[in-house]
Amino acid sequence: MENNSIIITNNLFKRFPMGKEEFTALRGISLHFGNGEFAGLIGPSGSGKTTLLNILGSLDVPSEGEALVLGRSIGKLNARQAARLRKENIGFIFQSYNLLAVHTVYENVEFPLLLLNLPSAERHRMTMEALEWVGLTDKIRSKPPQLSGGQCQRVAIARAMVKKPSLVLADEPTANLDASNSHHILQTMETLNRELKTTFIFATHDEKVISYLHRKIFLLDGRVDKDEIIRSN
């Protein structure tokens, strides 16, 4: 398993300044993720899920310890290198969708490909393919405000997946969705994980999400409390 690892963290600490004091959000996280995992960080509010996900996504840096993502040490990347890592290898899915409201569904999904400077014919092919995965080819000209929450999150999944990244980080992706929509998008993500071998890491406390996970990592007060592998890939 070591040779196909996508993420290795070693005794990771994250401290935030809080007035004169410091608040330690992560206290020695050592984890290892292999390619193609469908794993989740589970824990109560404030346990450090988002903090860890942000570091893995190179949006933030560790205070101590090391986080290797696709062979790159997050703490040592400069802003430009971090942006490049995100651009080429990482897709994000947020709780609140975070779509660009004035752009169409098509344009939202196409955006990561624009950053990659792909030729337009290829962008079109990939964008349509991603929209097919989430079943939204009939909504390409709609804008986010005209869509339901479930549809918005499917657009966000298409946007995260369109460049076929090796890693997708999803922070509470179902928090704003009802049960049937939640199941729908989880099934979509599970299918993509199976077919494209994309690694998914969730941060969640939603039972519906948890039931889909192949691996459950329980966080408590910034530490790994339990690490359960339900089924290997």
């Binding site: 988002t50 942000n54 996504g57 949006l59 933030d60 802003a79 430009r80 971090a82 942006a83 490049r84 890592l85 995100r86 651009k87 080429e88 990482i90 994000f92 947020f94 709780q95 609140s96 975070n98 779509l99 660009l100 409201a101 004035v102 752009h103 344009e107 196409e110 955006f111 990561p112 624009l114 950053l115 946007r159």
Partner: protein, 424 residues
Amino acid sequence: MIKFLIKGLWRDKSRSRLPIIVVTIGVMLTVLMHAYITGFMGDTIEMNARFTHGHVKVMTRAYAENMDQMPLDLALMNAEELLATLRDGYPDTDWSARIKFGGLIDVPDSMGETRSQGPAMGFGIDLLSAESAETRRLNLEKALRQGKMPSLPGEILLSDAFAIKLKVNPGDKVTLIGSSMNGSMTMTNFVVAGTISFGIEIMDRGTIIADIKDVRMALDMPDAAGEILGFLDNGFYDNDLAISMADNFNEKLSANNDEFSPVMKSLSRQGNMGQYVAMSEIWSMYVSLIFIFAMSLVLWNAGLLGGLRRYGEVGIRLAMGEEKGHVYRSMIWESVIIGLAGSVIGTALGIFFAWLIQTYGINISGMMKGASVMFPDTIRARITPPDFYIGFIPGLISTVLGTMLSGIGIYRRQTARLFKELEA
């Protein structure tokens, strides 16, 4: 990518149309204000030019030294020849000879005895020739209170208050007692054609206006003129043009060592008009600066608000892997587009409205009933070259600067913090 950004800019009204409208209004008001003040200050200058100074004035050197005393013995000789030279050399300028003089108006009774008498300030101007612009220039028809305009030699206008004081009515004969160029006493009879009131004290106390030919005859100064006034053809005082014209004339036709040789002086070089001209330039700059400052504050704030509103978008773009510098630069380019669009439209609109006010004027005669004729009854703006940049440059700069400053806030912030704020 550029297409993507432009689409976003165009569709997001609060990001494009609203700021463009704000910039447009600010720029337009600045331009309009500047043109208006230039026009207003200019009007005062024009009034002085019309009644006293001309845009340029030709006198003998000696007369120029003692202008206030109206020294007729120092008047220009061969005025018609000099007029012809001026009309020939500066055909775009309207030239008019005038004689200003002092004297005594004597009103005789039926027996020829003095009934009343008063000191008078006289203007000899070209009242009667058809091509003369003087009647219109001094707004005489508007100023007429009783009687009619002079149409024959020997007819004069008298200030209304002066006429009342002397108990003279239109049609009455009066005698002007004056002194000739050589200092001997003269007495000439005139017929009062009408009375006038300009609405300003010094002009209404005791003014008589007569045709210059009659004045020449009365004061025994054939073909002489106290001064020749020149008016630039666009009707506005242009200090640089007036000065260069005067310098040009003086170099060619004025002899330094001859105190009777003619000398041309621009309005700004007569009395303390120079101060006023300088002041009017400073004033319009001053008011414009205040306007520019206010506009900059508004636009800067608009830029700041725009930047804050876009936290979310910035966060998403960063998460997708766009570089911070790229996001920042694209926001600045957007503000350049907005600033340019607003400044172009604002300058165009400002100049259009200023042009309307310049051409048609705002008639305020209703509000000015009974007020001085010296004040214009229409307010006119005036478009000058600064109007093309006085709103444009600050409009563009403050928009871009506002975005830059607000963008720096976003730029400096840690990506992770942006996300915290995004999630909130």
